[in-house]
Amino acid sequence: MATLSSTVSVKVPQTRQGGGGSTPPTFGGGGGDGRGGNGSPDYGERLRRARLGLAVGLTPVIMLFVSFTSAYIVRQGLPTLDVRTNTYVHDWLPVNLPWVLLLTNTVILVVSSVTMELARRQITRQAALAPVTSIPGVSLGEERKFPWLGITVVLGLGFLTGQWMAWRELAARGFYVATSASSSFVYLLTAMHAIHLAGGILALLYSAVTSLLRKPVEARRIVVDITAWYWHFMALLWIYIFALLEIAR
């Protein structure tokens, strides 16, 4: 109920920092450590900081996939020296992708993004109402704690399972990781995305764990919020990869 940690020995700062969740001025400002003027945690500031951190952190992920993309596009057009004839040939072999399966996986991932967003909004509402519900005697009625987060985890695992099945299908069609340049890229791009998505699932599980550990709901809200935006990014990234592999075969 209480949103203050009980281990605090508060030293009240002399000057006002960042403030309790207000929008910081354009220059300067926001220099606090996440505490407001009265020593209580400034969750607004922390949320902003966490979101900024996520935006920054997603930049190298984008650079990773930009690198893979440029390697893919260039390799597609690159002539290869055939040492038998000493002539250059184009040896790009389009991969026979199991696109129905991949499309199904895409739908699963998009739906999981929807459920993730519902989970995010759910906890945002709970966090906004937290100060009210901490007043003894006040009750807001029974908001059904629909397990959107749990559903997202299930759908995420479903996506990964579907990707595994797609790899099995590719192998059955004769495309292994080293079969051709094109197949190498298919495995590379899908595997790299899957690894990052698995990280997202771990973050979701951590969100679930924090609710069990009874952390303050505002703190939990930040974890879920960041995970949600990461999750949406993963969905967009997958759509991009799928489009790239299908359109630029």
């Binding site: 508060v10 220059f27 300067g28 920054v56 952190g57 190298p60 080293a178």
Partner: protein, 589 residues
Amino acid sequence: MASTEIVHAHAAPQGFIRKYIFSLDHKIIGLQYYFLALIAVFLGMGLSLLMRIHLIWPTASLPIFGDIKPETYLMFVTMHGTIMVFFVLTTAPQGGFGNYFLPIQIGAPDMAFPTLNMLSFWTTFVAFVVLIAAFFVGAPLHGWTGYAPLSAVPSSGPGEGLGADLWITSIALFCAASLMGALNFITTTLDMRAKGMSMMRMPLTCWAWFITAILGLLAFGVLAAGGILLLMDRNLGTSFFVPGGLNFTGQTSFPPGGFSPSTDLVKHNGGSPLLWQHLFWFFGHPEVYIAIVPGMGVASQLLSTFSRKPIFGYRAMVYAMLAIGILGFVVWGHHMFMSGMSPYSAFAFSIMTMAIGVPSAIKTFNWIGTIYKGRVRFHTPMLFAIGFVSLFVSGGLSGPFLAQPVLDIPLHDTAYVPGHFHLIMGVAAIFGIFAATYYWFPKMFGHMMNETLGRWHFFITLVGTYSIFMPMHYLGMAGQPRRYSQLTEVAYLHPLIPLNRFITYAAIVTIAGQFIFLFNLFWSMAKGKKAADNPWEATTLEWTTATPPPHDNFGGRTPVVNHGPYEYSVPGAPRDYVMQSDPATAQVH
């Protein structure tokens, strides 16, 4: 990733482990990075000493190491470069001093994500351990640049098996650690500045750390991509970098037992060695700016402080660093003029490379302009800052030779290139680290370093490093190629051996001189003269706080900033320096 706990700033940690091993305090983490870099730099120097000795006395049998075979020499070359570039130049200036002083200089109590900060150090540490492990299984011989197919085919030479896999793994871990660090630096700078600390009032050291972090953020992901593709080529039989039709029968002595065409080499087809070079250098060029930009920030800070004069052209300095950062991403092809890349691309890259000389020149003019009509105090930090400018000029001016493809024809892959980049990275950047050490030592450890020892260290190192690296330009023009373990086989190199011998002697003396610094560093921690809170009479926020700074940096206060960072000798002011958090007056900016 986001720390949602009550920030540790409230209560200092108890217990040795929480306080010094798994600390969340950016100051301790900064020191951890610094001492890791210190170990790395002495290891890297030792390797270079072995290399120089072998070059002059190739048949000599050394104590402990015995005979140094050609492949061993190349292992030294590879590990020296990897250790120095990653674990010294990308660690000490940014992870070391940046971690320690960025939050304090902007008036924050810690970094944005202290747990992530701790993780980034320990990941760097593990990366270092993995790299050292390569020594024990046979380190790779492909150079820090790791060109494929030499690095992509395990049978290309000794150490290219497990050793190369460990090398790639170490670098991949280092990428992850750097990216975590960059995240922290950028978020902290954007979101945690104290009231009144606008971006244009930040010390230039903070700008440097900020820009360096952005460079790292954009560059290390590309290196990671290259590393992943290389691991796949080596272990999964893919052909990103390995073309078909290769044959390694030329090496009759390796691999042991002989090479058999029936190995998986036959399966490779269609890979492009140039793809590795593009990916590597897209990272590699910003990397060298990551290595030097923090030193530029330190030089600006110290030249202003010890000339008692504002930095000449603060805005220009900021824009110049930004320009260097941006342009640094479009010049990578100048490492590839001889690679078989299109000559038209080469032309484009060379124009951009010459362009990047312009902001570098601006910074140099402004440093000299800062000293002009100043009042120079020759404390050791200032000596190294002055040395930095001299070395930056020398190393920088050999750049325009290499930047022109037609001049790169005789100079590429000759000793001219290590002459150029060592003057900048191997000396100027190191001078930046030394300068920062002597400057901030009082604040970190509460004692002053010994001035006499500092001066000896400075003069030996300045003269010594010039003696080592300036002659390499002459050797390069005469046609001495890089990475030769001996100069005995190619006849036209024989007349160059005496100059090589001179370089080796200079290296021995210079490396010996570094032990003066090492002694001074540790002796002063215990026995140095006690330091006041602001021994240099400097203006930036770290000098307003206690020595060493308390756990939350400002002892419960939070500074409010009213002045720019370099208000020295302000006309009409009571002292010749106005600290950033001094009360506002009408006279200053």
